[in-house]
Symmetry: C2
Subunit: 199 residues, 2 copies
DNA sequence: GGTAAAAATTGATGTAGGTCAACAACATTT
DNA sequence: AAATGTTGTTGACCTACATCAATTTTTACC
């Protein structure tokens, strides 16, 4: 198998049992794209017409509220990514998707996606499994940013998304748990210091 | 058609084109349950084995963080409801689902759900559409509670979920936008007063 | 390898919304 | 219709985190 497609195939295997035949069909409609760091996949207001798979690099989702960028997610290599509301409903995206490293993406258009659903026997199961997984991810992000104090949100993020914790730059992690970079830095300092005193 | 099933049928029609034949098959496996106000559908730690439809009343989802109840959603009549992570993955629920009025529920078990997916021709499309809609709802809840100040979160909730705004008690709305009841009351007061002065 | 840009740290100060507590307005039960 | 519980309002005070700004550290680029 072509080398650049192995991660993709592996991910699909995790999500569903795709026959070789089906995979070959799917493969024939895949498209490819590279992004330089800081380039945009989608900007707010545009309609997101593709479902992406991050083959290399990281893509962050953020929106702007009261003039401030709020990062809501970072898609790591080996995961699907899109602006869901925009892709599924064909409405303008509320969010921006931006490469935070150089990236290699695999993607299919909405049309191709619908073709996959209607022609591949495993297509709908695959889509259901992807959606389920992403729904649960979103729940986790949501639940971990509710009413906990900043330090606990920080720890929770580490628990739930250890991979992100390792590779995503601090400033984006900070934004994901809704604290400012300065506060984030203080949290880290507090955690690294061998418990001075707490009165 | 039986009266008690009309809202359910109407909702399914909105989400997918279910043939009469398929609907009859589906109907034959539906189960029914009533809940008194304050009764629980699911408690944290239990495994949620059913997919519910709220036929009458309201069910709220909440979790407890640092000893405080945080309401994350209220399912109004005419909508599906479950503890998604628990139902789909068969793991203990992080959330509690509690009736906030007397309720009438229609539900199917996980087994029945899988039967629907594999036997009804429209089953998977239906499931996909439900999941899509709920994913987008969750995104909306998530995005509207990010970094906006309390007053803007309040307004946003009103925009995005006008039905909820009308029928859900203040204390739950407050919790949904992550403010305390006291603060919520002050927000409402501020909005109702004909702009005294803002310096 | 030197310079510029980006990311992270630290200090001083400010404030939105939390906390606590008392009370008022409704609802529900008997 | 009295009693009890639930929900919403208001006041006085407090604190976790934001803000602003200066500096250091790290990374990226001719």
């Amino acid at each position: 198998m072509k080398e650049e497609i192995q991660l993709f195939r592996k991910t699909l295997n995790r999500l569903s049992n795709l026959s070789n035949d089906s995979f070959d069909k799917l493969y024939s409609i895949l498209e490819f794209r590279s992004l330089k760091k800081k380039e945009f996949l989608i900007k707010e207001g545009e309609i997101c017409r593709n479902l992406y798979f991050v083959n290399k690099g990281m893509v962050r989702t953020y929106l702007i509220q009261d003039g401030i960028e709020v990062t809501t997610w970072v898609a790591l290599a080996g995961n699907f990514d899109t602006s869901a509301h925009s892709f599924f409903k064909g409405i303008p995206s509320l969010t921006n998707l931006q490469a935070i490293t150089d990236c290699e993406l695999i993607f299919i258009s909405k049309n191709a996606y619908e073709q996959v659903l209607s022609t591949l026997p495993e297509g709908k199961d695959l889509a259901l499994n992807i959606l389920q997984e992403y729904y649960i991810n979103l729940e986790n992000m949501f639940y971990s940013c509710l009413s906990l104090p900043a330090l606990e949100r920080y720890n929770k993020l580490g628990e739930l998304f250890p991979e992100h914790f390792k590779c995503v730059p601090q400033k984006y992690l900070a934004s994901m748990i809704r604290v400012k970079e300065a506060t984030m830095s203080r949290l880290r300092k507090k955690l690294s210091q061998p418990d001075t005193e707490e009165v």
